[in-house]
């Protein structure tokens, strides 16, 4: 409903001066947009419960097909980057908190702050310019090298490594940007945990510093990070539009922006529905994980 109430005309971007108002009206009727908004809503509900998410105005394809084509690319890139960034963030955040006040803590915290506040498109373009263009280690954009894929002699391994090669630069961008926030979160959580009584108890029991840090402190301190990972994974479905645009990564974030800005209602609705479903599922998984990670929590 909100999409239809938002300003903008779904056919405005399709038309050119060669279209007459009658043609525009005819197209509107063909898209079902001549119906009252509540009729459109009931129609949407009916389709929704029968598993039909409609056909994109601009692609002319069922929206679930468009989403299924793009979703794996987004999951591949963003899930990998989130997991890697979270692992690195937890690892370095733990060390930074443990060494609170030391030079390494200062450097790690400052670096994390810089990474966390980086303007993603600028950083991505810098990486493309330096590592892709100047040094030439990475492809500039895209998910594959068309020259390799149109060459019929290219084998599976070459193609797989080609995808991997294309993934590295966007992965690096997301990794750097995300890692900063995980490191800061982990550090702050760990600092709080280190003041807990059970840490003093662990020391009194004569446990080694490594065991105290990794098993007693870090494991408890990681709980907020787990929540953050869950939500990040969910929002990564749509949250990478800028990264996807700079790297021409054919993911779902770009499609969502296109759908909303062009009033492609069926596509926008399906994308939001997907995001809502993923966020709910991720929350559920995080809640279950909490019970596993922290035996004090029982539902």
């Amino acid at each position: 409903m909100l999409f239809r109430l938002a300003p903008g005309d779904p056919v405005a971007r399709m038309v050119d001066p060669m279209w007459t108002p009658e043609e525009v009206e005819y197209v509107m009727s063909q898209l079902g947009l001549d119906q009252p908004i509540w009729t459109q809503y009931l129609f949407y509900l009916k389709n929704f419960f029968s598993g039909n998410f409609g056909v994109s105005f601009h692609y002319g394809e069922p929206v679930h097909e468009i989403i299924w084509k793009r979703l794996p690319n987004t999951i591949l890139l963003f899930t990998t980057s989130t997991i890697l960034a979270a692992l690195a963030g937890v690892f370095f955040g733990k060390i930074a908190a443990w060494r609170k006040g030391s030079k390494s803590d200062t450097w790690m915290t400052i670096s994390a702050l810089v990474c966390h506040t980086l303007f993603v498109p600028w950083f991505a373009l810098m990486l493309v310019w330096i590592l892709g263009y100047k040094v030439g280690w990475f492809p500039l954009n895209g998910i594959i090298s068309p020259e390799i894929w149109v060459d019929e002699s290219s084998g599976f391994l070459v193609k797989a490594l080609d995808v991997l090669h294309h993934m590295l630069l966007p992965l690096m961008t997301l990794f750097v940007v995300q890692m900063g926030s995980y490191l800061l979160l982990m550090r702050s959580s760990m600092l709080g945990t280190l003041k807990e009584d059970y840490i003093v108890t662990a020391r009194a029991k004569g446990l080694s510093e490594k065991v105290i840090r990794n098993h007693h402190a870090a494991r408890n301190a990681a709980l907020p990070v787990i929540t953050s990972i869950g939500l990040s994974l969910a929002f990564s479905i749509n949250g990478g539009a800028l990264t996807e645009t700079v790297f021409t990564w054919p993911g779902i974030g770009k499609e969502l922006v296109f759908a909303v800005s062009n009033n492609d209602y069926p596509l926008a609705q399906a994308c939001f529905l997907l995001i809502a479903a993923v966020v709910l599922t991720a929350n559920l998984i995080v809640d279950v994980l909490y019970a596993y990670l922290d035996p004090r929590i029982r539902y």
């Binding site: 300003p7 903008g8 005309d9 405005a12 971007r13 399709m14 050119d16 001066p17 060669m18 279209w19 108002p21 009658e22 043609e23 005819y26 197209v27 063909q30 898209l31 079902g32 056909v55 601009h58 692609y59 002319g60 394809e61 084509k69 690319n73 890697l84 692992l87 060390i95 060494r99 373009l125 310019w129 892709g132 263009y133 030439g136 280690w137 990475f138 500039l140 954009n141 895209g142 594959i144 090298s145 068309p146 020259e147 390799i148 894929w149 149109v150 060459d151 070459v158 490594l161 991997l164 090669h165 590295l168 510093e209 490594k210 996807e244 645009t245 700079v246 054919p250 800005s261 009033n263």
Partner: protein
């Protein structure tokens, strides 16, 4: 100390994933051979991938760029003279004034699958357009009463009445094959929404008569076309060009931003970027000896429009005064950085035959002070006044304050709607400059950027606005649109007459020129229409930006430059790999 030791040990036992990451990086870099590019493969960068390969749905620029290499019209514009030349047709159409018919003889052309293109395909295309009311074409094909095909290579179009735009609009529509579309159309006709059904048909392998055929399309990554062995133009001289194609194929790659596409061009990953460049890139590109930069005019109209339904913009004197104040030289030199042409008429000067150079040129050649004085005199003579006039008693220009309308009331604040800077910085900045110039005159103007589709809805749908800056980036070379944009019957919701302009003389001329089959006589009428419009100024034409494009000259040559740029079927039929 103890902590440090432990940490050291921790860092030493760096998790395996970091090592794995480094290994992957190394491995992938090692195989970073991008694949050798065959000499005959032209690599074109597009700003986005095509949304569809269905010719009846395609409305975005990128889909059309792809499909114009596949589906061909009967007549095509000569890149140099801009006149229509026979393309799938064998010769110029013969017009019979008495019967009101056009007879078109067809070439011996084959579809890409080797079957014959015949008059039956033309009839089929026409029927699809009419029966499904395909937008963009249907209003032009409405003029046809019936189509006859005396033989496989002759088509006679019977028109309901003489229609000047029939040739340039209807016969330039892309022809489709009965074989490809007959079953689809038959099924679509049985549906509730036949047009939508036709447009939603998934086209995997479009069948056309053009110089290239689709070989492979990997969504989000590339689109590969190869030379059509049955292309009728190969070896033929049409429009002064000996046609190939001389390349084996085209590989379209997609770039989300111009920045990355320019880097790809400089690095040699693409041979041409098929998208207008911002002037800011030119210095860098012109320094590269392997890159050629092309400047061409566009068939475009960027303008400021008024809502004539709403006072005080219904006063022609106020509109003329605003037209006088606007410094188009400044817009061209500063905002377009010199890459554009001043527009005085609504038909751009690049469209030489139809452009009327004798329309009023408001404030042309004057400096800022002279403009203000002239506008001041115009408004003062019409009964406008100021709390503080912009010209003092000694004739010096100062900042004007609070313009009062002839009825003595102060002019109310008004808004100039523009697209946002991220959509089109030129229009957004032009709006800001105009705001400042008008404020100096005491007009309470406010430029307001608005999301593009919302802007269109506000101006075209709701018609709730004071003034706006919009543009058409790719106008048809037949200036019939002049009649469309300002025709009183188009002053309705979603109509093209956004300003609400109404002039009976103009309407009469508009209707008359549509039925005038003599090109010179029609030009006279269209010139008069342009003159009337610029007297009444419902729109102030502002500028026509140049199309700036770049291609690698170490890879290919033979681009055909024309209004609109080098990217066209003409170029792809003539461009040759270097060394071939």
């Amino acid at each position: 100390m103890k902590n440090k030791l432990h940490d050291h040990a921790e860092i030493k036992s760096t998790p395996g994933w970091l090592g794995f990451l480094l290994l992957v990086l190394l491995l992938a870099t090692l195989i970073s051979c991008q694949g050798e590019t065959p000499e005959g493969l032209l690599r074109i960068g597009l700003p986005e991938e095509p949304r569809t390969l269905n010719i009846w749905l395609a409305s975005d620029a990128n889909s059309r760029k792809i499909l114009t290499q596949i589906y061909q019209p009967l007549y095509l514009r000569d890149p140099k003279t801009l006149k229509l030349v026979p393309w799938l047709a064998a010769e110029d159409p013969i017009y019979d004034e008495e019967k009101i018919t056009y007879t078109v003889k067809l070439r011996q052309v084959k579809w890409a699958d080797g079957s014959d293109f015949t008059a039956d395909d033309v009839v089929f295309t026409g029927n699809v357009i009419k029966e499904f009311k395909v937008p963009r074409y249907s209003s032009k094909w409405k003029a046809i009463k019936k189509i006859e095909t005396p033989d496989d290579y002759t088509v006679i179009f019977y028109l309901k009445k003489p229609t000047a735009v029939f040739l340039s609009r209807a016969l330039t529509a892309p022809m489709v094959s009965r074989k490809e579309w007959e079953a689809v159309a038959a099924e679509a006709k049985t549906k509730d929404k036949p047009l939508r059904s036709l447009q939603n048909h998934r086209v995997e392998r479009p069948l056309g008569t053009g110089p290239f055929v689709l070989k492979d399309y990997k969504g989000g990554a590339y689109l590969h076309m190869v030379r059509n062995p049955h292309f009728f133009g190969t070896g033929q001289r049409i429009g002064g060009h000996l046609l190939g194609p001389y390349i084996d194929g085209i590989l379209f790659k997609f770039y989300g931003t111009s920045d990355v596409a320019i880097l790809a061009l400089k690095k040699g990953n693409i041979d041409m970027f098929w998208w207008g460049l911002q002037p800011g890139y030119l210095d860098d590109l012109t320094r590269d000896p392997d890159i050629a930069v092309f400047h061409n005019q566009k068939s475009a109209l960027y303008y400021m429009g008024f809502n004539l339904r709403r006072p005080p913009f219904d006063d022609v004197v106020l509109r003329r005064a605003i037209a006088t104040i606007i410094d188009k030289d400044f817009i061209i030199s500063r905002i377009l950085q010199g890459y554009g042409t001043i527009l005085h008429s609504v038909v751009p000067p690049g469209n030489q035959f139809w452009h009327n150079p004798q329309v009023p040129h408001y404030g042309d050649g004057l400096n800022h002070e002279q403009r203000l004085k002239l506008a001041y005199d115009m408004l003062k003579a019409a009964g406008y006044s100021w709390t503080e006039p912009p010209v003092d008693p000694d004739g010096n220009v100062t900042k004007g304050k609070e313009l009062h309308l002839p009825d003595g009331k102060p002019m109310e604040r008004f808004t100039i709607l523009t697209p946002p800077a991220d959509y089109d910085p030129r229009r957004a900045f032009a709006g800001l400059m105009i705001q400042e110039w008008l404020r100096n005159m005491g007009l309470p103007a406010y430029a307001r950027p608005m999301a593009f589709s919302a802007l269109l809805q506000q101006v075209k749908g709701k018609r709730d606005f004071d003034a706006f800056i919009l543009g058409y980036g790719s106008l048809n070379l037949d200036p019939d649109y002049v009649g469309t944009f300002f025709y009183s019957k188009q002053d309705k919701e979603r109509g093209w007459n956004m300003s609400g302009y109404r002039n009976k003389t103009f309407d009469t001329l508009r209707n008359k020129q549509r039925g005038e089959m003599d090109r010179d006589k029609r030009r006279e009428m269209l010139w008069e229409m342009q003159r009337i419009l610029l007297e009444d100024v419902p729109y102030i034409p502002l500028y026509n930006p140049d199309v700036l494009e770049a291609a690698r000259k170490d890879r290919c040559s033979g681009w055909v430059e024309k209004v609109g740029g080098i990217g066209s079927v003409w170029s792809f039929c003539t461009v040759k790999p270097i060394g071939s």
